[in-house]
């Protein structure tokens, strides 16, 4: 049976979420299992000397990571194919861009976010299953820097282009919702990619370029994030009511964003630490970001508790639901 999927940039949320699950599994294994220097690989796990309970603990995690890594890569290829076809349709992109009411065109940033996630999936979970990759990691740093530069350029271009539509006359910004934060989310994901290069590359030149570009990304992303969260929170409180059911899950976008900004800042601060005299700011940054993520997540669950109780299970699909993953 062939599905009838009309292209929309928000489709990329499916590959983005799959990459997120794969990366979560990778991070667990990376920190839980002792291994050689660098990212953990399949060769680092000695299944033979593990107890049955350890095998039962880690084997399903590896399978989950494999499934979601493949899902991320396959969906990315498919959605890129559909994106190219969409861009070649006369007027499709222009019509989408000009539809700024209710921040409906903010979905364009899911594309940049998803592609940034795929770069991270390629380095970490994909590298886990192809241990030979870790031997050639340094050779991949220059191409990674080029891809990071392209993603950042695309992101800035889209931010300027779409930013104009949100502040154009006649646009009622009081109707905007938390989906509007997708651009800040994309900034967080691009910063994660840049900071990954800073953490992994051994070439001083590559590290230096990546660190400066990541600092810029973090700076711009943080300003956008703070402004939008402040504006949206103020508007929601002022309105005295929750948004419509389909967009409620977008509240959860803050959770991954806090972690992304925190982790990227942590890596950059570690790079800058010698100059800063090891201020301990890095630990404070990452702890604060994870505390914010937990507090916001619990707060969001409380605020939309009725959504979970009586709506979500039987509800039809709505793109912001990917925010839960």
């Amino acid at each position: 049976m062939k599905l009838s999927i009309k292209f929309h940039p928000l489709l990329f949320q499916a590959s983005l979420a799959a990459g997120g699950v794969a990366l979560m599994a990778f991070n667990y294994l990376h920190f839980a299992i002792p291994h050689h220097k660098g990212p953990i690989t399949l060769d680092d796990i000695s299944w033979g000397i593990m107890s049955p309970s350890q095998v039962a603990l880690y084997a399903p995690m590896v399978l989950v990571m494999l499934a979601f890594t493949l899902l991320n890569l396959l969906l990315t290829v498919y959605f890129l194919y559909r994106l190219v076809k969409w861009l070649r349709e006369p007027g499709a992109y222009t019509a989408f861009r000009s539809n700024a009411q209710g921040n409906q065109n903010a979905g364009i940033f899911a594309i940049v976010g998803s592609l940034s996630m795929t770069v991270n999936v390629f380095w970490a979970p994909f590298g886990f299953f192809v241990p030979q990759m870790s031997r050639y990691m340094q050779a991949m740093m220059l191409p990674s820097l080029v891809i990071f530069g392209l993603l950042l350029t695309a992101l800035i271009f889209l931010e300027v282009t779409f930013g104009r539509t949100w502040f154009a006359p006649g646009i009622d910004r009081t109707k905007f919702n938390f989906v509007w934060l997708l651009d800040a989310f994309a900034f967080g994901l691009v910063a994660l990619t840049g900071s990954g290069i800073v953490a992994m590359a051994s070439s001083h030149l590559i590290v230096d370029i990546a660190a400066r570009a990541t600092l810029f990304t973090l700076g711009v992303g943080s300003i956008i994030l703070l402004y939008k969260v402040g504006y949206l929170t103020f508007n929601h409180v002022k309105a005295g009511q929750l948004p419509a059911h389909p967009v409620m899950p977008a509240f959860f976008l803050i959770v991954p964003m806090a972690c992304l900004f925190g982790l990227a800042a942590y890596r950059i601060e570690n790079y800058l630490a010698p100059a800063a005299g090891g201020s301990g700011l890095a630990s404070t940054l990452i702890t604060a970001s994870y505390v914010l993520a937990i507090v916001w997540g619990l707060g969001a669950i409380y605020v939309i508790r009725d959504y979970f109780r009586s709506y979500f299970v039987k509800s039809p699909f709505a793109p912001p639901q990917w925010g839960f993953v």
Binding site: M1, K2, L3, S4, I5, A14, A17, A18, G20, V21, M24, A25, N27, Y28, F31, A32, I33, P34, Q54, L57, M61, V64, F68, S315, P316, F317, Q321, W322, F324, V325
Partner: protein, 48 residues
């Protein structure tokens, strides 16, 4: 204990982190199933 690292000094944190991966996978499955249902092709009924 076969764990180490900043977030793994505490078993409860480690367990929460472990479970969160599966929770993410389950949520993904739920949302993806809704997505697939929403994009089923509409079957045309032949009118005699």
């Amino acid at each position: 204990m076969y764990v180490y690292g900043f977030f793994y000094q505490y078993t409860a944190l480690s367990a929460l982190n472990y479970l969160s991966v599966y929770l993410g996978a389950i949520m993904y499955g739920l949302v993806m199933s809704k997505f697939l249902v929403a994009h089923r092709p509409v079957e045309r009924v032949a009118v005699a």
